[in-house]
C-alpha cells in the first residue's frame, strides 16, 4: 500500500507565546480604537502603510526569528506565526513589510554576503526597508523556469535586462529579489542557469509602474530593468542556484496563515453585525466556516512545527495553500447568505464595502505564490503519481 501519511505535528508552545499574543492583541485593539488603521480585506496584499510597518518594527515584531546581530530576536517560528495571524485576523495594513519578513529576509540570511546582511536585515526588522518579489514576467507566470530577464557578466558585477510583472507593493519597496537567467537555456535542464539578485530599486535603469487591479487598487507593478548594473556582492547565493533557492523560499511562502485568513476580517465583521439576529441557515454557514478555519489552522501550525524542526514540508505546505486559498474564496461566497452585495465599494455601508472588496480581490487568492494547479502537481508528485 502506498504511504500517503502526512504529518501535522503540534507546535511546542510556551508561556512566552501566549504573552506575545496578548501584547499583539492589545496593540491592535488600541490602534483600531484610535483609528491607527482601518481594517481591510486581504490586508497582507492590499494594505500598504509604511508608517504602520515602522510601528511594528519598533515593537520588535518583524524578523523575530533572525539572529540578534541582524536585528532579530531569535524567537521561534511559532512566535512569528502568532504575530502574523493576529495581524491578519485584525485586517491590519501589513503589506509593506510582509514579503521581506516572510521570505526575502530568510533568503538574504541564507544566501547574502555578510556586508549585505549587516546593511539590509536590521533595516527590514526596523520596518524601514521593504522588498518586492521579481519572479513573474510577461512570458513566465506559473512556468517560472522560462524567465527571460538576463544578467550578463561585466567587470565587478552584472548587467540586468528584462521585465518583471505582478510584483506586489514594488512602488513602496527599496529592493527587489530578481530571478534572472545567467546562462543559456538548456532544454534538457530547464531549471539550471538561473540566479537571484538583490536589486536596489533606485538603481539607474530601473522603472516601476503601477498596475490597477480589478478591485481598484494599484498594488502590483510592472518593473523594467534596462542594462541595470548589479555589483557582485548583491548576487544571492551561488550563480546558477536560483531554482533551488526559490523552491526553499516558496515553502515559506505557501503555508502561512495568510493562505486561509485573507477574508477573515470580513467574516469577523459580518458575524459581529448579525450575531443577535442569526437565522438557523446563517448559523450553519457560520459554523461551517469556523470549523474549516480551525482545521486549516491546525494544518498550518503543523507545517510551522515541521519548519521549526528543520524539515522541508513542501508537499504539506502545498496542501495547506491549495485547501486554504480555495476556502478563503469560498468564505466570500458563503457570506452572501447574510445579505446581497449590490453596491460598488464606497457606495454601500462599511460592511458591504468590505464584503464587495473581498469578493473583488478573491480571484487572486488561488493565483499568487503558485496557482492551485501547480500546487496540485506538487502534491501529486509527493504522492508518487508523477
Amino acid at each position: 500500500m502506498a504511504s500517503i501519511g502526512f504529518d501535522f505535528p503540534a507546535p511546542q508552545a510556551d508561556a512566552s507565546v501566549d504573552e506575545l499574543r496578548r501584547e499583539v492583541r492589545s496593540f491592535l485593539d488600541e490602534e483600531a480604537r484610535q483609528g491607527g488603521f482601518v481594517p481591510l480585506a486581504d490586508c497582507w496584499c492590499a494594505g500598504i502603510d509604511p508608517g504602520f510597518s515602522r510601528k511594528l518594527g519598533a515593537r520588535g515584531w518583524i524578523g523575530v526569528t533572525w539572529p540578534r546581530r541582524y536585528g532579530g530576536r531569535e524567537l521561534s517560528a511559532l512566535h512569528r506565526y502568532v504575530i502574523t495571524e493576529e495581524l491578519l485576523a485584525a485586517g491590519a495594513p501589513v503589506h509593506a513589510h510582509w514579503i521581506a519578513d516572510r521570505q526575502s529576509g530568510p533568503l538574504i540570511l541564507a544566501t547574502a554576503s555578510e556586508a549585505v546582511k549587516n546593511t539590509v536585515l536590521p533595516e527590514i526588522a526596523a520596518g524601514r526597508c521593504f522588498v518586492a518579489l521579481g519572479f513573474s514576467e510577461p512570458g513566465a507566470g506559473s512556468d517560472l523556469a522560462s524567465v527571460r530577464t538576463r544578467a550578463q557578466r561585466v567587470a565587478g558585477g552584472w548587467t540586468l535586462s528584462g521585465t518583471k510583472l505582478w510584483s506586489s507593493g514594488a512602488q513602496s519597496c527599496q529592493y527587489m529579489t530578481v530571478l534572472a537567467r545567467t546562462s543559456e537555456r538548456d532544454p534538457q535542464q530547464r531549471h539550471a542557469g538561473l540566479t537571484q539578485f538583490l536589486v536596489p530599486l533606485d538603481s539607474v535603469g530601473v522603472s516601476v509602474s503601477g498596475i490597477r487591479d480589478m478591485s481598484g487598487v494599484e498594488h502590483f507593478n510592472e518593473t523594467h530593468f534596462e542594462d541595470v548594473f548589479v555589483p557582485d556582492e548583491l548576487v544571492l547565493g551561488a550563480v546558477g542556484d536560483g531554482w533551488q533557492q526559490i523552491t526553499n523560499e516558496l515553502a515559506l511562502e505557501r503555508s502561512g496563515p495568510e493562505r486561509f485568513l485573507s477574508s477573515f476580517i470580513v467574516l469577523e465583521k459580518v458575524l459581529q453585525a448579525h450575531a443577535g439576529s442569526m437565522s438557523p441557515q446563517q448559523a450553519r454557514v457560520a459554523g461551517g466556516i469556523i470549523a474549516r478555519l480551525r482545521g486549516l489552522r491546525a494544518m498550518s501550525l503543523g507545517v510551522a512545527a515541521l519548519l521549526g524542526q528543520g524539515r522541508s514540508p513542501d508537499v504539506e505546505a502545498a496542501l495547506v495553500k491549495d485547501l486554504g486559498t480555495r476556502f478563503e474564496q469560498d468564505i466570500c461566497e458563503r457570506l452572501r447568505e447574510f445579505g446581497p452585495l449590490r453596491m460598488q465599494q464606497g457606495d454601500g455601508d462599511a460592511l458591504q464595502d468590505l464584503q464587495v472588496d473581498s469578493m473583488l480581490r478573491a480571484p487572486s487568492f488561488t493565483l499568487r505564490g503558485g496557482t492551485n494547479e501547480i500546487l496540485k502537481g506538487i502534491i501529486a508528485r509527493g504522492m508518487g503519481l508523477r
Binding site: 502506498a2 450553519r284 459554523g287 480551525r294 482545521g295 503519481l385
Partner: protein, 358 residues
C-alpha cells in the same frame, strides 16, 4: 503518546493485518461472525486500553485510544472495538466492575433513558456492539445528572438492524428494566460532553477510513493502465487525488487537534466551550469530507470500485454511515454557528477570532 503507546499501536497494526482482510470484512457484513478475529482482539487486551492498570487494564492515554480507534477505521474492522473501549471507559469513570468480554454501548446521542427507584425506562435507537455483548453499558439520567448503568443483554428488549455499511445496530427498549449495576450521578460527566466525545470517536474512525480510501485510490491509479499509460499520469486524475488527499488530511489534523485538547483538559466528558469547539470541528469536517472523498475515489476506480469484492465499498459505506452517527455536518455546523451567535451577542466572547484561535 509515549513509547508504551507506540508498542500497543504497533501490536494492533500487526494483529489487524494478520487477522482482518477484505474478504473477512465482506463476510462479516453478510452476517458471518468473525470468531477468530474477535478472539484475537479480546486476548490482545486492546479493549482495555482505556482501563486503569489497577483495574487490570492498559492504562493508556486518551491519545492511544483515539489512535487505536482511527486504526480500526483504516481496517474496516468488523468488531465493536471502538464501542467497547468507550463502554469500558465509562464503567471505569463510574467506578463499576468491567465485563469479561465485549461490552455494548447503549448510547446514540439521543435522549438518555431515565433511572428512578432502581429501574430504567427509555429507548435507545442506535445502540452499538449489542450483538456480541456480554454486558451493556447504558448512560442514564439519574436525579437530573448522567449516571452509568450496566445491564445483561437479556434484560432488555432488542431489535437488531444494520447501518448502510452492514454494521450491527440495535434499538433497545427499557421498560422499567432492572440493571445489574447503577452508579451514582457523575459530576464530572455532562450529557453534552458524552455526546461530543462519542462524536470524536466517529470522527477518528472516519479519518482512518478516509486515509485508507486515499491510499486505495493512489494504489489503483498507479496500477491501472488506460490509453497506454497509468491513470496516475493523467493530470485530471492527479488533481482529483490531490484534492481528496487534502480533505483527508484536514480531517486527520482536526481529529489530532481535538485529541490533544481533550488530553490536556483532563476531564474527557466535561461540558467546556473550548472542548466543544475542537470536538465539533473534528466531527463536522470528517462528516463533510466523507461525501466528496468517497465520490472522487469511486470515480477514479471506475466500475472496479463499484464491485462488492473490491474493498473500496467497505470504506465508502462506513464513512457514509458514520457521518450520520453522533451528529452530521449539518448538526454540528448549526451547533457551532449558534455558539458563535450566542457568544458574540451576549458579550461572553469578544471576537469571532476567539472561536478560531485560543
Amino acid at each position: 503518546m509515549d513509547e508504551t503507546d507506540r508498542i500497543v499501536l504497533d501490536t494492533a497494526e500487526r494483529l489487524f493485518s494478520e487477522c482482518c482482510d477484505a474478504e473477512l470484512v465482506n463476510r462479516a457484513g453478510d452476517g458471518e461472525v468473525p470468531g477468530a478475529l474477535m478472539k484475537a482482539v479480546l486476548e490482545s487486551g486492546l479493549p482495555l486500553a482505556w482501563v486503569a492498570e489497577e483495574a487490570g487494564g492498559v492504562g493508556g492515554s486518551l491519545a492511544l485510544g483515539f489512535n487505536l480507534i482511527r486504526q480500526t477505521g483504516g481496517f474496516a474492522l468488523p468488531v465493536p472495538l471502538a464501542e467497547t473501549l468507550v463502554a469500558n471507559l465509562l464503567l471505569g469513570q463510574a467506578g463499576l466492575a468491567l465485563g469479561e468480554g465485549w461490552t455494548g454501548l447503549a448510547y446514540d446521542g439521543g435522549s438518555l433513558p431515565v433511572a428512578a427507584d432502581g429501574r430504567v425506562s427509555g429507548v435507545v435507537e442506535g445502540a452499538c456492539g449489542v450483538v456480541e455483548a456480554e454486558l451493556l453499558v447504558v448512560p442514564v439520567l439519574r436525579d437530573g445528572a448522567v449516571a452509568i448503568a450496566g445491564f445483561e443483554p437479556e434484560a432488555v428488549t432488542a431489535r437488531h438492524y444494520r447501518n448502510p455499511a452492514g454494521e450491527a445496530r440495535t434499538k433497545l427498549v427499557f421498560d422499567e428494566a432492572v440493571p445489574l449495576c447503577l452508579s451514582a450521578p457523575l459530576t464530572a460527566m455532562s450529557e453534552s460532553g458524552l455526546y461530543q466525545f462519542c462524536a470524536l470517536v466517529r470522527a477518528a474512525q472516519i479519518a482512518g477510513a478516509l486515509d485508507k480510501i486515499v491510499a486505495l485510490t493512489v494504489g489503483y491509479v498507479k496500477e491501472r493502465q488506460q490509453f497506454g499509460r497509468p491513470l496516475a499520469k493523467f493530470q485530471a486524475i492527479q488533481h482529483k487525488v490531490a484534492e481528496i488527499a487534502g480533505e483527508a488530511a484536514l480531517s486527520g489534523a482536526s481529529v489530532e487537534q481535538a485529541v490533544r485538547l481533550l488530553s490536556a483538559h483532563g476531564q474527557p466528558f466535561a461540558d467546556d466551550p473550548a472542548l466543544f469547539r475542537a470536538l465539533a470541528t473534528a466531527k463536522l469536517l470528517a462528516s463533510e469530507a466523507a461525501g466528496p472523498v468517497a465520490r472522487e475515489a469511486h470515480q477514479a476506480h471506475g466500475a472496479m470500485g463499484f464491485s462488492f469484492e473490491y474493498p473500496l465499498q467497505q470504506y465508502s459505506r462506513r464513512v457514509w454511515s458514520w457521518r450520520e452517527e453522533f451528529g452530521s455536518e449539518f448538526y454540528w455546523s448549526s451547533q457551532l454557528g449558534m455558539a458563535v451567535a450566542c457568544g458574540i451577542s451576549s458579550g461572553a466572547t469578544a471576537k469571532v477570532w476567539d472561536f478560531v484561535s485560543p
